[in-house]
């Protein structure tokens, strides 16, 4: 192993252990649990709120007593065609003939939200609705029509449908796009979470003055790459932990679950559908290339964070400098997410070529486009940019961390290097 690589691994080892061998790393490792927990809590709250809002709402028909049974039967049949949140609000009846019943007054009654009230003859009903062109009013019109159609048709034998499930319907474009978006989101989230940590590590070294020892002992490039490698190790450990947890959780769930009741509940159907709808390049390639794109994205962003963060002297300055990079990265996420939802578009091509969005957008492309050779091209292109960003960041790092005073200027350095080279060449040997 060359001294450069050796020193790089020494720095990486130190950084890796400094993070992993601390109790706080456990909190970091379990951070997704908190995130998911908070998300679930928020989601459940919102869902409960939506359910209770839905339960409190109603539609009302002011009908002759003779029509109520027919309306109720038609309502039951029509509701079979709606699922979940698309179902219309519950139907309530008021007996017509009472002169005091005013449909407008009904919409203002307390205790529940009344979305629409239908009154008058079914052939020509009056529908008062809370929102113009609302779904509830349309539904009541549909209900009236259904009752009239039932009466005109007379007795009809009940339909006896035979349902057949397609076990594997091939790749769904929508699911593939969702997979692409998922890849963009996961890579973005992990990169942002972990690359930002490199800056605090650098702040620590600036604070405790270790940086000068490092700079004297090894090339700054190896310090820089070592830091990135150390944090990449942390990232890989983080991912491996959660893959293992997910796998373990899946196995335990499969062992504990009763297959018969699960099948009856249809609980696996959605997962089965998602798995059946493979990414265009296949699961193995998609996951593999996604991981490589994550590494490149991490190196790109981590190098930028390190280079810019090296200019900061205090934690406050680090936070201020990190903010524009984070905003930029959120912009790259938005670009890549838009590209994932419009594969093959000009926007998608731009996102795939632009260096900082390329890893995200290309990961999304692996979900929707089956060509694999293009990924080699993309990896090469991104590697060039990683090298370029690292080169520039090392210069910034050198100027910032060592505070060498003169500051780094490209033209000045070039001139100095040229002069030094000339002087060295002129030296007697």
């Amino acid at each position: 192993m060359t001294p450069f690589l050796q020193s790089m691994f020494v720095v990486a080892r130190r950084d890796f252990l400094a993070i992993v061998a601390t109790p706080t790393f456990l909190l970091f490792l379990l951070a997704p649990l908190f995130m998911v927990g908070m998300g679930l809590a928020g989601g459940m709250g919102a869902s409960q709120l939506a359910d209770s809002a839905r339960g409190a709402g109603r539609i009302v028909v002011v009908a002759d007593p003779a029509d109520i049974a027919a309306l109720r039967a038609a309502d039951a049949r029509l509701r079979e065609g709606f699922a979940g949140s698309n179902a219309p609000p519950s139907l309530a009846f008021r007996i017509a003939g009472d002169a005091t019943i005013d449909p407008v007054a009904i919409t203002s009654e307390k205790g529940s939200d009344t979305y629409a009230v239908m009154s008058g003859p079914l052939e020509n009903p009056r529908i008062v609705e809370r929102n113009a062109d609302g779904k509830s009013g349309r539904y009541l019109a549909l209900l009236a029509g259904q009752v009239l159609r039932d009466r005109a048709a007379g007795e009809v034998a009940p339909v006896k449908p035979r349902f057949e499930s397609i076990q594997r319907g091939g790749a769904s474009i929508a699911v593939q796009q969702s997979l692409g978006f998922g890849a963009v989101f996961v890579i973005f989230l992990l990169t942002l979470l972990l690359a930002g940590q490199t800056v605090s590590s650098l702040a620590e070294e600036k604070g405790n003055k270790v940086i000068e020892i490092l700079a004297a002992a090894v090339p700054l490039e190896s310090v820089f790459l070592g830091k990135l490698l150390g944090f990449l190790g942390v990232a890989v450990l983080f991912i491996a932990f959660w893959i293992a947890m997910a796998f373990g959780g899946g196995v335990i769930a499969a062992l504990l679950a009763d297959p018969a009741s699960l099948a009856a509940a249809g609980g696996t159907s959605e997962v089965a559908t998602a798995l059946a709808s493979t990414p265009a390049t296949g699961w193995a390639f998609f996951l593999g290339i996604g991981f490589i794109y994550f590494i490149l994205s991490f190196l790109l962003l981590g190098a930028v964070f390190l280079g810019v963060g090296a200019q900061a002297a205090t934690v406050r300055e680090i936070q201020m400098l990190s903010l524009p990079i984070t905003i930029f990265q959120v912009g790259m996420f938005s670009l890549s997410a838009a590209a994932a939802s419009a594969p093959g578009s000009g926007l998608a091509r731009f996102a795939q070529i632009f260096p900082f969005s390329s890893p995200l957008a290309m990961a999304a492309r692996a979900a929707t486009d089956d060509s694999k050779a293009v990924h080699l091209l993309a990896l090469g292109w991104q590697a060039i940019w990683v090298a370029l960003v690292i080169f520039l960041s090392v210069r910034l790092f050198r100027a910032g961390v060592l505070s060498s005073g003169s500051g780094w200027k490209f033209w000045r350095r070039t001139a100095t290097s040229a002069a030094a080279t000339a002087a060295t060449a002129a030296e007697p040997h």
């Binding site: 020494v10 000068e212 020892i213 004297a216 002992a217 003169s406």
Partner: protein
């Protein structure tokens, strides 16, 4: 084989408009202990940093073992002026880490760390975290870390500052032992006693420039011999003064004056011939401290004169 471990030529560094180091050259003989002396802010640390290639000079160049300093990093041990260790690391690990940076195996680094620490009486803190140590102890750990890989060149920037007398003594012992092992030692200090005891050669830097280079004796020889003379009692001061060199001054414990080496014997002859007698006589070389102060004051006086001249020119203009 190169006779010099370090050859720095015309090192110059600007910090903004301020010229921190002005064409400083150093030539450190292989296997010697070389001191870079100077008052605070003279440019010692910046000179050492440029010598080691940690920062780039604006002018000049540096060679270590005949090569670019960056290419022989593994043969160098460096203790920076601003001490730095990872507070969460244990002492042994910190030393092994610094050795590993220079290519030493971790296991060997740990073994040597324990050996050094035991030798220096620090065995009780081998597995103690740095953050729990005193500043002096941490400094000793860092010093061990800078020599654990048995470097051929050891560069110590103000190594004695912050150490108690016992640890200063230990450090001096360590420096001598490393020199005896064959290493070249280059260190900076503004405490002359250490330089006087340790250094084979010194360079004095003041106001960004090198003002002296040579051995300690050569530095001391810059000043004349210091004489304290007490004649027999009841001597007439005017008579005594007439027989002593110009500038002789009578203080409480006798006459004080300075003479050149060559004037020692004629002086003794004159005192004997004059019949003034001798109750006390000491002739001594000035200390390095005196030579250092003399050089620095000369430089400061030159600067003050230049400044006064500039002010006068400005006023007349």
């Amino acid at each position: 084989m190169n006779d010099f471990s370090v050859e720095a030529n015309g090192l110059t560094k600007y910090f903004g408009d301020y010229k921190a180091v002005d064409h400083v050259s150093l030539a450190v003989p292989a296997g010697s202990i070389y001191g870079v002396l100077g008052p605070n802010g003279a440019g010692k640390t910046t000179s050492l940093r440029m010598t080691l290639g940690i920062i780039d000079p604006d002018e000049g160049s540096s060679r270590v073992f005949g090569a670019r300093p960056q290419s022989v990093r593994h043969r160098i041990g460096y203790l920076p002026e601003e001490r730095g260790l990872y507070p969460g690391m244990k002492a042994r690990e910190a030393i092994a880490f610094m050795g590993a940076l220079r290519g030493l195996e971790w296991a060997e680094g740990r073994r040597r760390a324990a050996s050094f620490m035991t030798e220096l009486g620090l065995e009780r803190v081998i597995d103690e975290k740095i953050r729990k140590m005193s500043k002096g102890m941490a400094q000793m750990i860092q010093l061990i870390g800078s020599i654990v890989h048995a470097p051929d060149l050891i560069v110590l920037d103000e190594p004695f500052s912050g150490l108690d007398p016992v640890n200063q003594e230990r450090l001096e012992m360590l420096v001598r032992r490393e020199r005896d092992r064959g290493a070249t030692i280059l260190f900076s200090t503004h405490v002359m006693a250490h330089a006087e005891r340790l250094c084979d050669r010194i360079a004095i830097i003041a106001r960004s420039q090198r003002r002296f280079e040579g051995t300690v004796d050569e530095a001391r020889a810059l000043l004349p011999m210091q004489v304290r003379y007490t004649p027999r009692e009841q001597q007439d001061p005017a008579t005594v003064a007439a027989n002593l060199p110009a500038g002789a001054e009578l203080r409480g414990d006798g006459w004080h004056f300075a003479i050149e080496d060559r004037d020692v014997e004629p002086l003794l002859a004159r005192i004997t011939a004059s019949g003034l007698g001798v109750t006390g006589l000491s002739i001594s070389r000035p200390a390095l401290h005196d030579a250092f102060v003399h050089i620095v004051r000369q430089v400061d006086a030159g600067f003050d004169a230049d400044a006064a001249e500039d002010a006068a020119q400005e006023a007349s203009a």
